[in-house]
């Protein structure tokens, strides 16, 4: 089938394009973590700025493998001149998903694999439920456009947008868990038990994104309402409900996909704040803990992983266009 071959070709080409970007990201993180501050600076910061001995710094560097030259090792021979360096061992190795060890001695790649599932368990329902409810609310507002329903809907959206996500979590935990005792405040369990812990974070996640998304979808749909096919659909006697949910929704899929498919791979990373508030052992809380304990290796790994997933998301977005709109051709 020529169509499938074209798609495959396209994906291969996009993956090749992604390589220079990942190299760029790698160089940025390398510069950020090893050039702006020398490993000595980092050691001094972590060991306490004033009272630190050179021996302690050397030990700290040796434990983490930071005691090698940055990019060129004159003491070694042959290829080892390039490979026995911080750049090769810490930055280039990330392409092979070798992220090294965290400060507590655990393998970062292993931790990431362990923590992906809890992150996904909260991020995926938030994403799917959010998408569905926000689109339905937006379509309802468009159905009642230019009435009080629409007007107050937009007012509500702007008000919801103006509340910090921190307050949604704090307020939700207070009302639902502390006042009404409906679900536990925080924690995580395995299997069916996890549902109890996940309800509140998911509901809060959907709610905190409601304002901005609903308003954005509403604008998209209103733009589609002015097209000719809408008039045609009405002219042939379709009820407004069907016009909206079948024709307008279908045609607004391209801009919706642009904004949503990109974030699907990033769901693996979880949410920084929600996970730390609700005590979910996912990648988000892993990152926060790393930031607070200044575990540079973990933060570096997460930056690389994040940009990798983002690029995967971009490719998926382009592929998804062809699925919803056969007119889109890949070149």
């Amino acid at each position: 089938m020529p169509g499938r071959m074209a798609l495959l070709n396209y994906v291969i080409r996009r993956v090749l394009y992604a390589i220079p970007i990942l190299v760029g990201v790698n160089l940025i993180t390398f510069a950020l973590f090893f050039v702006v501050n020398s490993p000595d600076d980092m050691a001094r910061m972590q060991l306490g700025v004033k009272y630190v001995t050179p021996e302690a710094i050397d030990k700290w560097k040796a434990e983490r493998g930071y005691d090698k030259p940055l990019v060129f090792n004159a003491a070694a021979d042959g290829v080892a001149r390039l490979t026995q360096t911080i750049f090769f061992e810490k930055s280039v190795a990330m392409f092979a998903f070798d992220f090294g060890r965290a400060d507590d001695g655990r393998d970062i790649a292993h931790e990431i694999r362990m923590r992906m599932l809890p992150s996904l368990a909260i991020a995926l329902p938030v994403f799917l439920l959010g998408l569905a409810t926000h689109i339905v609310f937006a379509l309802t507002m468009v159905l009642f456009r230019a009435t009080y329903v629409d007007f107050w809907g937009v007012v509500l959206c702007v008000a919801l947008m103006s509340v910090s996500s921190l307050f949604y979590i704090i307020g939700g935990q207070f009302l639902v868990s502390k006042l009404w005792h409906l679900v536990p405040i925080s924690g995580y369990g395995d299997g069916p038990d996890a549902v109890r812990f996940l309800i509140l974070p998911v509901v809060i996640g959907v709610l905190s994104g409601a304002g901005a998304s609903t308003r954005w979808y509403r604008t998209l749909f209103l733009e589609e309402m002015g097209r000719d096919y809408v008039r045609t659909a009405r002219a042939k006697g379709l009820p407004e409900r069907l016009v909206l949910f079948r024709h307008v929704l279908g045609n607004a899929m391209i801009p919706i996909l642009t904004g949503t498919v990109v974030v699907i791979p990033l769901l693996f990373l979880g949410s920084l704040i929600a996970e730390s508030f609700f005590g979910i052992p996912g990648l988000g809380s892993y990152t926060i803990d790393a930031i607070n304990s200044q575990d540079f290796a973990v933060v570096r790994a997460m930056v690389f992983l994040g940009s990798l997933l983002y690029i995967v998301g971009l490719i998926l977005t382009d592929v998804s266009y062809t699925l919803v709109d056969p007119r889109v051709r890949l070149e």
Partner: protein, 506 residues
């Protein structure tokens, strides 16, 4: 309080620069009818003007908090010696709010309370010890018997303050009427009547109504803040109202300076990419794709961590703690600017790509006008509306981002008061028994007012400036919209996607 030494911190300097830019821009716009037209549309928007009034109040507080100084230290004896200055950097707001700043209680106290929020063992004059809520050192200290006098005292002071506020409001309205009457060459009475009917080109009636809500409230708050902690005190006994006022500047600085920092780069690179195309375009596109491919929170976290190390290992750079916190704030603005830079750059590139094919630019080419002249005279003025819309739309998001980043631990310096640090310090207080709710409520209220007014103002600006965007029904009062529908005209957006409409950030 005799002498002081003015201090200009880094962010202060940039705020002054921003003020100069804003005034220069306003002066330029006033002389140019074509540029003035969209601003007139903003002036006609009721929600926009109300939001602008609220924002104006916040900006006044923020500016007061921007003028910094170091007071002289009193030292006994040798008058001939060199004047020494305190290591503590104060702002004009700090000086005005000295009572709020210095009246520190022992620990938590509820709003308007005359007692501490925690029981303490107090020794009675007769030698007995009891567990009770001790009186506050400052809050309500003038009352003999707080239980019976407090309500009447608070009501009396609030009424007096609100009365003064109303008086100030009346004077402001009269002054406004006088000013408009002189400009419009009309009678004073006639002008006031026009304002009341909303028949002025700018919606002054909305401004007056908003001020009528704000000024008495401010008056009452100020009158009460003198003798009570109107929003309570936090764990170390600091006044929460004072903290809320201080947070305003941090929010405003982050919201505005971030854009100011990234604007030169975004403008230059975006226009260059669109104008020169070819390899310049490729390089610039590669640059912003790479930067934007790192999730922004992670990039910010990594950069701030590294900046912390950099600052921490070089303590000799800073003579005061405020200077260090300030430089951190500036760095945070720069970093936020770098992460939000790519969106604007992409928009500018797209618009320039379109503009460069326009006939007037082709004509300029044919006349041999140089590239940089074309960019400066023909392209730059025609992309400014995008810059303006992006600036006002980003503002509220940045204020919200500050709170989240400070919570994550990569925000402003912990010693700098901001909404984020307030929330961060208070987040465990809801779980405390008995619960301490006022810090969070204060941060919520102030932040909500600031962000909501910024959002509404941004909407008004966007509707006024975006040429491809007609009024959507929701900004039209429902009455008018329904009338329009009855008349057969459905209010709807234009067919092409608006340039500045953006997906919400994930």
């Amino acid at each position: 309080m005799t002498s002081f030494k003015p201090v200009v911190l880094w962010t202060d300097a940039f705020v002054y620069l921003l003020l100069v830019v804003v005034f220069a821009f306003a002066w330029h716009v006033r002389r140019n009818e074509r540029l003035l037209a969209p601003w007139r549309r903003v002036g006609r928007s009721a929600s926009g003007m109300a939001a602008l009034t609220v924002l104006g109040c916040f900006i006044v507080v923020g500016l007061l908090d921007t003028v910094h100084l170091r007071p002289a230290v009193e030292h006994g004896g040798d008058a001939g010696g060199e004047q020494a200055y305190s290591v503590e950097v104060l702002s004009l707001l700090d000086v005005l709010a000295t009572p709020l700043r210095t009246r520190v209680e022992k620990t938590y106290s509820a709003p308007f309370s005359a007692f501490l929020y925690a029981r303490e063992t107090v020794e009675l004059p007769d030698g007995h010890q009891i567990r009770t809520f001790p009186r506050l050192q400052f809050g309500g200290a003038h009352l003999q018997d707080p239980d019976s006098e407090l309500v009447a005292d608070v009501a009396g002071r609030a009424a007096a303050g609100a009365g003064l506020g109303l008086l100030a409001w009346g004077m402001a309205v009269v002054a406004l009427g006088g000013w408009l009457a002189r400009r419009g060459a009309r009678g004073w009475r006639e002008t006031l009547a026009a304002i009341r009917r909303g028949a002025t080109p700018v919606q002054w009636n909305v401004v007056c109504i908003t001020l009528a809500c704000i000024l008495p409230l401010c008056g009452a708050a100020l009158a009460l803040a003198d003798s009570y902690h109107i929003l309570g005190t936090d764990k170390v006994g600091q006044d929460v109202f004072y903290q809320s006022l201080k947070s305003i500047r941090t929010g405003l600085v982050i919201g505005t300076l971030t854009t100011l920092m990234m604007l030169p780069f975004a403008l230059l690179l975006g226009i260059m990419a669109g104008y020169f195309r070819g390899w310049v375009d490729d390089v610039i596109q590669y640059l912003y794709t790479t930067l934007s491919s790192i999730p922004s929170v992670l990039l910010i976290a990594a950069t701030v961590l590294m900046m912390q190390v950099y600052i921490e290992t070089r303590p000799e750079w800073f003579d005061t703690a405020a200077a260090r916190a300030d430089l951190r704030l500036l760095f945070l603005c720069v970093i936020l600017g770098v992460t939000s830079w790519s969106g604007l750059c992409r928009l500018l590139r797209g618009e320039t790509l379109k503009l460069r094919e326009m006939e007037y630019i082709q004509a300029a080419h044919a006349f041999g006008v140089s590239h940089w002249r074309i960019i400066g005279r023909h392209i730059l003025p025609n992309v400014m509306h995008i810059v303006l819309i992006a600036t006002v739309m980003d503002f509220s998001g940045l204020v919200l981002a500050e709170a989240v980043l400070s919570y994550v631990g990569v925000g402003v310096d912990p010693s700098m008061i901001s909404f984020g640090t307030m929330i961060n310090a208070a987040r465990l207080e809801m779980a405390r028994e008995p619960m301490v709710w006022w810090t969070l409520l204060a941060a919520f209220g102030f932040m909500f007012a600031l962000v909501l007014s910024a959002n509404l103002f941004a909407d008004a600006v966007q509707h006024a400036f975006d040429p491809r965007k007609k009024m959507l029904s929701a900004t039209m009062p429902p009455r008018h919209a329904r009338a329009a529908r009855r008349a057969g005209r459905q209010p709807q957006a234009s067919s092409s996607a608006s340039v500045t409409e953006r997906a919400p950030r994930p």
